[in-house]
């Protein structure tokens, strides 16, 4: 299948490794990946913070870039939720304001072809084992938008359970928000931090080396506290775990280690 990758603005800028991992997994599975160069942002930050007029132009931009694609894969559950829940409303709004009347129909046509990365693997391709090897103890954080808006269910955990060498440990209160919430994290920093404290405690209680998710925004939030507190626990997007194979492990082992005390 020819898959168009919508990397999303923050993954492009802050988490390129996630994008590379998505490409690696999809190519390993025999698909062709393309990257429409004019893509930028889905508009979530503006829309959810109340800047609706500023978000509107990003809908026709997305359509222009991705309309031709057989499938659009996005490694960010909250961006997919933004598109599924709000793009139809945005299309109607643009029409109501005298804009392009073809938008509602075109939006309705593309949305069924837009997939969050893990659901593309489990629901569209029907896969659970993508041939990954990752010998670590990992816990999974269910991002709210993936859990509630996309209904990912236990899809991501099913993928993780099929990774050779990986020990999946369950976190307490899986369904509770980490407190990121986009601009909420800075607008209500105190409450956001209190929510994060509860979540990082739950992560640490699992004894996992690493916490994974389908959304780097939650992981950036968790990582921020895990690093600040020098816990030694790291975060990694699901795609990066699924991209990892025995060959990567051997290559890493073979690297010369230089001691600089």
């Amino acid at each position: 299948m020819k898959v168009a990758l919508f990397i999303t603005c923050y993954n492009d800028t802050l988490f390129p490794a996630t994008g590379k991992a998505v490409v690696e997994v999809l190519e390993r599975l025999g698909h062709t990946v393309e990257f429409p160069a004019g893509q930028t942002c889905c508009g979530q930050m503006h829309w959810n913070t109340g800047y609706q007029a500023e978000a509107l132009p990003l809908l026709p931009r997305f359509l222009q870039q991705f309309e031709h694609a057989e499938a659009v894969v996005v490694p960010s559950s909250s961006c997919v939720a933004m598109m599924r829940e709000h793009y139809p409303i945005m299309a109607e709004r643009i029409v109501a304001e005298g804009g392009d009347t073809s938008l509602p129909e075109r939006t309705a046509a593309i949305l069924p072809r837009v997939w969050e990365f893990s659901e593309f693997l489990t629901k569209k391709l029907g896969l659970t084992d993508v041939g990954a090897y990752y010998p670590h103890r990992v816990t999974y954080h269910a991002s709210c938008h993936g859990l509630r808006s996309l209904g990912l269910g236990d899809g991501p955990q099913t993928l993780l359970k099929s990774v050779r060498g990986l020990e999946l440990v369950e976190i307490a209160n899986l369904e509770q928000c980490c407190g990121f919430g986009g601009t909420f994290a800075v607008k209500n920093a105190d409450v956001s931090s209190a929510m994060l404290a509860e979540k990082t405690r739950a992560v640490l209680n699992t004894g996992a080396e690493e916490c994974t998710a389908c959304d780097n925004s939650c992981l950036m939030h968790l990582q921020g506290a895990l690093h600040r507190q020098r816990t030694g626990v790291t975060t990694r997007h699901l795609a990066e775990i699924l991209a990892h194979t025995e060959a990567d492990e051997e290559a890493e082992d073979a690297l010369p280690t230089e001691v600089t005390l």
Partner: protein, 489 residues
């Protein structure tokens, strides 16, 4: 026993109030414990209902239909309630409602009333108005009694004293009921409350209440509760005055079927309420002989006029969204500066205030969606929050600092060239802030993107992030740079 009621017009912003409350470890522990207990009970009872989603949908349809035809059903209710011997009063706002109730009480000539727990009377600050007129109102709901005696404020729409634990309740009772030897077993506390209240039930002849539902086809008033105090207030007094929001009407008795299955399950984790009282007018020799209903608008018709905000009025006040909310869980209810706390308060209060106050409330949410998931009448609270944020932004004007920044970023996202330039600029701008980590063991040849620089301090608004969180420095290469290089190879 007067207290300062929660008033959105004078309340601090959510951020300010939350900051103070987050420092109260006892309160946070009480809130966490209570919401955990209620949520666990609720989940068990919802799971046993195979048709829960169908019930939610019929609940939503009934409530949405009422709102679309509110004028029709209110007039039908007025006709039938009047025919059954009751008197209807219409109140445009809180002041009018207060005046009507005080007038009725004065007419009776009493100086005391007993009260059933009611959010609507809290909303209009009725107790204070009565007190100013020389009338004392006794709260008879156990939690409301705790709040009243403790000169506190309700923090939850169903369990208003949820922020207090047993030891704190004992202290309040000891002090105000003059019971120095009172124990803290639930039975001891209940016994003290019962002795305190029973005497009021026997003496006071006027009751004030709200209502859970009004039934248009019969002129019926439905009040559900768990303690039996409501039943006492509804059966013993000679006069019953109910202050009810105009949105509380339902068309038929039959409509209570799904609603009364969902309300107790959602509210307190019970299959049905222990006491379900339904009065259809005055019956000689049985119950109150004078019944008044004050139908309260107080901003509701304006909410109704807003197509996107309207669904807020579907609410049946179960409080499930408060118990499920991870924000409420941290702060408790007082942070919302209104008798309506939690997610429903965050959308209802600003609308009732015409967005002249409470502008910080629509932002008091991470938009996690837990509230929508548990709402028995499917109010899409995150959607309404976003709608209200939009209104707040429009109100603030384009020249607000945040607005200018957001507009600049929006311009960046509208062009690939500008987006790439911003990515490069970001890497330069963060340079002075990045601290590279000293590692004792460096692995040579490690992948480029595994950057080891971290930011521990950010200026201005972004400083909220770094107060408790680090931020990893931007990688040297964006994904699109890598993709282009890869294509050339």
């Amino acid at each position: 026993m007067s207290r300062v009621p929660l008033d959105p017009r004078t309340a601090p912003t959510f951020q300010q109030a939350a900051r103070a409350l987050l420092g109260d470890a006892q309160l946070r522990k009480n809130v966490r414990h209570a919401t955990d207990v209620i949520q666990t009970k609720r989940r068990k009872l919802v799971e046993e209902k195979q048709d829960w989603q169908a019930l939610r949908e019929s609940g939503r349809q009934i409530r949405a239909h009422v709102l679309e035809n509110l004028d029709v059903y209110l007039e039908e209710f007025e006709r039938n309630f009047t025919k059954a011997g009751g008197v209807i009063h219409w109140a445009r706002d809180a002041a009018e409602a207060q005046k009507i109730v005080v007038g009725l009480v004065k007419e009776i000539g009493t100086t005391e009333v007993i009260k059933i727990k009611s959010m609507t009377t809290e909303e209009i600050q009725l107790n204070n108005a009565l007190e100013a007129a020389g009338v004392h109102a006794y709260e008879t709901d156990l939690a409301e009694l705790i709040i009243q005696l403790g000169e506190d404020q309700p923090s939850h729409i169903v369990v208003p004293a949820l922020h207090k634990n047993r030891a704190q309740v004992r202290e309040i009772f000891r002090r105000t009921m003059n019971l120095p030897d009172l124990g803290d077993k639930p039975a001891d506390l209940a016994d003290a409350a019962r002795r305190f209240l029973r005497e009021k039930f026997l003496r006071v002849t006027t009751a004030v209440s709200g209502a859970n539902f009004l039934v248009a086809e019969t002129g019926g008033v439905c009040i559900v509760e768990s303690e039996g105090n409501g039943r006492m207030c509804l059966t013993m007094p000679e006069t019953l005055i109910s202050v009810v929001g105009v949105e509380k009407v339902v068309p038929r008795w039959q409509d209570l079927e799904p609603l009364l299955q969902m309300l107790p399950r959602s509210a307190t984790g019970e299959r049905m309420n222990p006491y379900n009282s339904m009065w259809c007018g005055v019956h000689p020799g049985d119950g109150p002989q004078r019944m008044h209903i004050v139908l309260l608008d107080n901003g509701r018709t304006e909410v109704l006029a807003d197509r996107e905000g309207r669904q807020t009025l579907q609410c049946i006040r179960c409080g499930a969204c408060q118990n499920a909310c991870p924000v409420y869980r941290q702060t408790g209810g007082h942070a919302y500066g209104s008798v309506y706390a939690g997610p429903i308060g965050a959308i209802l209060t600003p609308q009732l205030m015409h967005l002249e106050h409470s502008q910080s409330l629509p932002y008091a949410s991470s938009l996690c969606g837990a509230c929508y998931e548990v709402c028995p009448v499917k109010i899409n609270i995150p959607e309404v929050l976003i709608h209200l944020r939009h209104k707040v932004v429009e109100q603030n004007g384009w020249y607000a600092p945040e607005s200018l920044a957001m507009k600049a970023v929006a311009q960046v996202f509208r062009s690939e060239r500008r987006f790439r330039a911003a990515q490069r600029l970001g890497r330069l701008a963060e340079l002075p802030l990045v601290k590279s980590e000293k590692r004792s063991f460096a692995i040579v040849g490690q992948k480029q993107e595994a950057s080891d620089g971290w930011i521990g301090w950010l200026p201005g608004l972004l400083g909220g992030w770094t107060s408790t969180r680090d931020l990893q420095a931007m990688p040297q290469e964006t994904f699109r740079d890598w993709w282009e290089k890869r294509g050339k190879q």
